[in-house]
């Protein structure tokens, strides 16, 4: 990074640290923070979408669909979520390969599960054999996104369903009295107003989602936890930058990163809440109306 970094062993302290903190592995460590933020940025809308579908299913007047929604929400909520984070990627991976196997190799005569092995033909491997390393990494990352979206979609479905119920019943009846259909009343009355009721719950889920991101490490992704362990571990003089066991300091850094993230999003949600309360038939909205008058 810097021109004086060619021989770190003779450098004074501050230059040594400047070189140490900007070496190639540390740059990968900083990029891993980006991975966490990307995961949050992708998972949050996907989970919200799943939650919306789940909430609509829960509301549905078509009984099997309502049952399906109830089953989905309650199964995910009743089981420790860490079980889901580990179960979904491996189960889904095997499921995809099983389907690919039956499509691509219908003539295969051996069973797929032989003892403790899961054997599919070459053409059924996902991602394809001999793919580049980044393809495997992307696949693992997408699996993680699916697992997170499934779990947090169920949480969001519950919150959104509650928010839809919280919109005053009289308003929907008024809409129906004006001759709107059920779908129109939902789109024009319920959908715009439900967010103020959903926000406290959604903000809670967002905080939980932030705090769930270090579990990426368990799915074999080189995330910040992985790099903190790698970089913090004791380095002997064989390495360019020898140092004792510094893992504690690296994890302290991660702790501060997460504290900042939760603190910042708490403030952002408080502002959003004030924005959404404007003109609503709630106590907060009433207070704003009075303050303006």
């Amino acid at each position: 990074m810097f021109s004086f970094c060619t021989d770190p062993s003779i450098l004074p302290d501050w230059q040594w640290f400047a070189c140490y903190l900007t070496n190639a592995t540390h740059l990968q460590f900083y990029r891993a923070f980006g991975v966490v933020l990307v995961l949050l940025a992708i998972t949050a809308p996907v989970a919200l979408g799943m939650g919306m579908l789940g909430a609509l299913a829960l509301r549905s007047r078509f009984v099997p669909l309502a049952w399906f929604g109830k089953g989905y929400v309650n199964i995910v909520r009743g089981v420790p979520d860490i079980v889901f984070f580990l179960f979904v990627p491996i189960a889904l991976g095997q499921g995809i390969e099983w389907v690919m196997h039956h499509i691509n190799c219908p003539d295969w005569d051996q069973p797929i599960r032989q003892g403790n092995d899961f054997i599919v033909c070459r053409e059924a491997k996902v991602p394809p054999l001999n793919s580049a390393r980044w393809v495997y990494e992307l696949y693992a990352f997408l699996m993680a996104v699916v697992a997170f979206a499934l779990v947090f979609g169920a949480f969001a479905a519950n919150t959104l369903h509650g928010a839809m119920q919280a919109v005053p019943r009289a308003q929907i009846e008024t809409a129906e009295a004006y001759g709107m259909t059920r779908a129109q009343a939902f789109r024009r009355i319920v959908l715009p107003q439900m967010w103020v009721y959903a926000l406290p719950g959604l903000s809670n889920i967002w905080q939980i989602l932030i705090k769930a991101t270090p579990l990426l490490f368990l799915l074999g992704i080189q995330d910040i936890v992985y790099w903190a362990r790698e970089l913090g571990g004791q380095k002997t003089s064989l390495f360019a930058y020898p140092h004792p066991d510094w893992r504690m300091w690296y994890f302290l850094g991660l702790l501060c990163f997460y504290l900042f993230l939760t603190w910042a999003s708490e403030r952002a949600f408080a502002r959003l809440n004030a924005r959404l309360s404007r003109g609503q038939a709630t106590a907060a909205g009433e207070r704003m109306r009075k303050a303006a008058a």
Partner: protein, 283 residues
Amino acid sequence: MRSCAESFEAYILRALGRDYGANLLPRGLDITICDQLFLIASGLIWNIYFAGLAIVIGFGLAVGVAVARFSENRVLSPLAGGFIFLFRGSPLFIQFFFFYSAFVLLPRSGIDIPLGFVTLTVNTSALTTAQVGGLVVLVLNTTAYSAELFVGALRSIPKGDLEAADAYGMSGFTKFRRVVFPSMLRLAWPSYTNEAIFLTHSTTLVFLSAFPARQQSGEAFYYARYFVDQTFNPFFAYPLVAAYFIALTLAIIGAFGLMNRHLNRHLPQERRARYRFRPQYLR
């Protein structure tokens, strides 16, 4: 192949260590369904140990932290607020890593704390084991979460209750013991039930890569992961451990529900606080 009775004998107490069952865990093709049933069940011993002790110790600490947070003391209140923010704002998973790597750095021989009349020696090597160090982290974590619940309950104690206590001439500790504390507990109990459930669920994080499982004695989810690694079949061990946890959750709901009835026994029937399953999920 082992019979079911043999694997019961070999694995039902295996989580306590090698002396209480088979030397080695079952491996590869040797794994039977009964092995998975009993070994994962034996792991529950540690889940109950962690959750039970953390709830009992954390409860006492949380009451203290909540009272400190609610007080108007210029030093104690922000201090308690900082503690709550620190442990509620960061992932438990990272807390385990941080405290483990901090405990490892402590001197092996123990630290002497002179208390004037007696010198207390803290056994630091015990802190690097999950059974002590992991418990410490869980206690701190549940203290922060429960303290937040208790502060909320302290804020919503009916004004009339406090005025009545004043009218009877109660003050200080008497007022706290006879009016404030029971009301706080009654108001916080439904959400405290959720906290207990999710503390129990988060005991599955103890052995995930930070604290080591000595002699392969771990909790239920540790064994479930072990079996999935061995058999490469996630469709038995994970649903099984999920079922065990649902049973554990129902037991907690039952026990805390009894306590809830006890706390609300003086109230007219319809005013009783109802338990609602509104969990905090992951932390």
